[in-house]
């Protein structure tokens, strides 16, 4: 198998149903080598379900998942690193024992690398995991995942509970891995992290992929066209069904159109309505995310599966 030609992480028409509920619907996502893909979505949008099936913890109802062009086998984990959202460490074992466990099970385990990472995150290896703080817990999981120098990384909320310094250290690890050719898929509630580290972003909502693209191209195309009118906002003349516009918000004499591409064209069209002023506003990834998922408050606060 030629490693430069296969797609490291390929999700094809993946659907997962739990009983009557469809957790993920027809998701297709190919992640290229050396790319860092940020998977975003409110709780319950299907991120964790996708990770679970990708890692073989659950089976897709339909569709397929492939790592390096092939279905998962035990040998895959020699080069795949994973940090779970929920801690999966043994509370009664020490950090040192966890490292020993990895040393015994991974051919790819690199003790020098592990020691560096332990140093970086200041993990107390002598303490039992149950006695570690939430952040140290996460840090140990990261040390374990990166100690084999994996070329594929699947990270579910890899920085949760870490202080800002260590969060930055995690981002640096991800960036370094990608610069060395690793492929990374990670989810985070902190959009700022995705905005920095990811070149690709995929947004899930209710199990469906609603936004997929590079961060830069999204920022280049997703804009707000804002128009201010002297009087009442006139009849919109079919603007609501313009495919370039995903949403229109009116408040008083201000009209805001959330545009997914060709903001200049939309601005010209709105200009025909003779507003006092039209401007195109840039969006941060957070704005793009919130526009895409819409009413965030309606998303369930927990129960991500």
């Amino acid at each position: 198998m030629n490693a430069t030609q296969t797609i490291p992480v390929a999700i094809t028409d993946f659907t997962k149903r739990y009983g009557a509920q469809e957790a993920v619907s027809n998701l297709t996502l190919d992640i290229e080598r050396g790319s860092i893909c940020g998977l975003l979505g409110p709780n319950g949008s299907g991120k964790t379900t996708t990770f679970k099936c990708l890692l073989g913890f659950a089976r897709p109802t339909s569709g397929s998942m492939a790592i390096e062009g092939a279905p998962l086998t035990p040998a895959t984990f020699e080069y795949l690193g994973y940090v779970p959202e929920r801690s999966a460490l043994y509370e009664w074992m020490t950090g040192a024992q966890h490292l020993e466990f990895n040393r015994r099970t991974f051919k790819s385990y690199d003790p020098k690398r592990a020691a560096e990472l332990v140093d970086l995150f200041k993990v107390d290896l002598k303490k039992r995991v149950g006695k570690l703080s939430k952040g140290q817990h996460t840090a140990l999981a990261i040390v374990l995942a990166f100690s084999t120098r994996p070329r594929i990384l699947i990270l579910d909320e890899p920085a949760s509970g870490l202080d800002p310094m260590f969060q930055r250290a995690v981002l640096d690890l991800i960036i370094e891995a990608a610069a060395n050719g690793a492929t990374v898929v990670f989810s985070s509630h902190q959009i700022g992290q995705v905005e920095r580290a990811a070149d690709r972003v995929a947004i899930l909502k209710n199990g469906k992929l609603i936004v997929d693209g590079t961060v830069d191209s999204l920022k280049g195309s997703e804009k707000i066209v804002e128009a201010i009118f002297d009087q009442m906002i006139p009849d919109l003349n079919g603007l609501a069904v313009d495919p370039r516009i995903s949403r229109i918000v009116r408040s008083g004499r201000i009209l805001r159109a959330y545009v997914n591409h060709d903001s200049e064209g939309v601005a010209r069209r709105i200009n025909e309505l003779a507003p006092k002023n039209v401007s195109i506003l840039d969006l941060s990834l957070e704005d793009i995310f919130i526009n895409a998922v819409g009413d965030v408050a309606a998303a369930s606060p927990n129960g991500d599966r």
Binding site: R168, A178, R196, K219, S279, S284, L285
Partner: protein, 134 residues
């Protein structure tokens, strides 16, 4: 050396464009001299904590524009060939982009062309008083 660059990931301006503008600005100001080596893609990505592909894309565009040169195995350097012309073009690019943003914002205030021109000239007089013009 890479610490001279700064980017704002939260801004709506794509990061690769920010990197391009930063490099051009430094070439224009001379803080990056012709022939001077730029950080590697990996080093700059780590320094700014941004995606390596984003940096690589910026470098590719800068190379296409002739601002930098990349030799395989050695790294990227500020172009020395016709460097003064490059520096000038870089200055123009940066100046364009700054003025473009400024004019867009004034226009957003609802000013028409004549009003913008008047404002612009008032500012010109402030920064370049009569008699000082070259």
């Amino acid at each position: 050396m890479s610490a001279i660059f700064t980017v704002d990931p939260r801004s709506g301006v794509p990061l690769y464009l920010q990197v391009i503008e930063q490099v051009k600005r430094h070439v224009a100001l001379g803080s990056l001299a012709p022939g001077e080596q730029l950080p590697t893609v990996k080093a700059l990505a780590l320094d700014l904590t941004i995606n390596p592909n984003t940096v690589a894309r910026a470098y590719r565009d800068l190379e296409r524009d002739g601002v930098i040169e990349t030799s395989p195995g050695r790294g990227s350097f500020v172009s020395s060939n016709g460097s003064s012309a490059n520096a000038h073009r870089a200055i123009d690019d940066v100046a364009d982009s700054i003025l473009n943003n400024a004019i867009r914002e004034v226009k957003n205030l609802g000013l028409d062309r004549a009003q913008v021109t008047a404002t612009f000239e008032r500012q010109l007089d402030r920064w370049f008083p009569i008699g000082e013009q070259k």
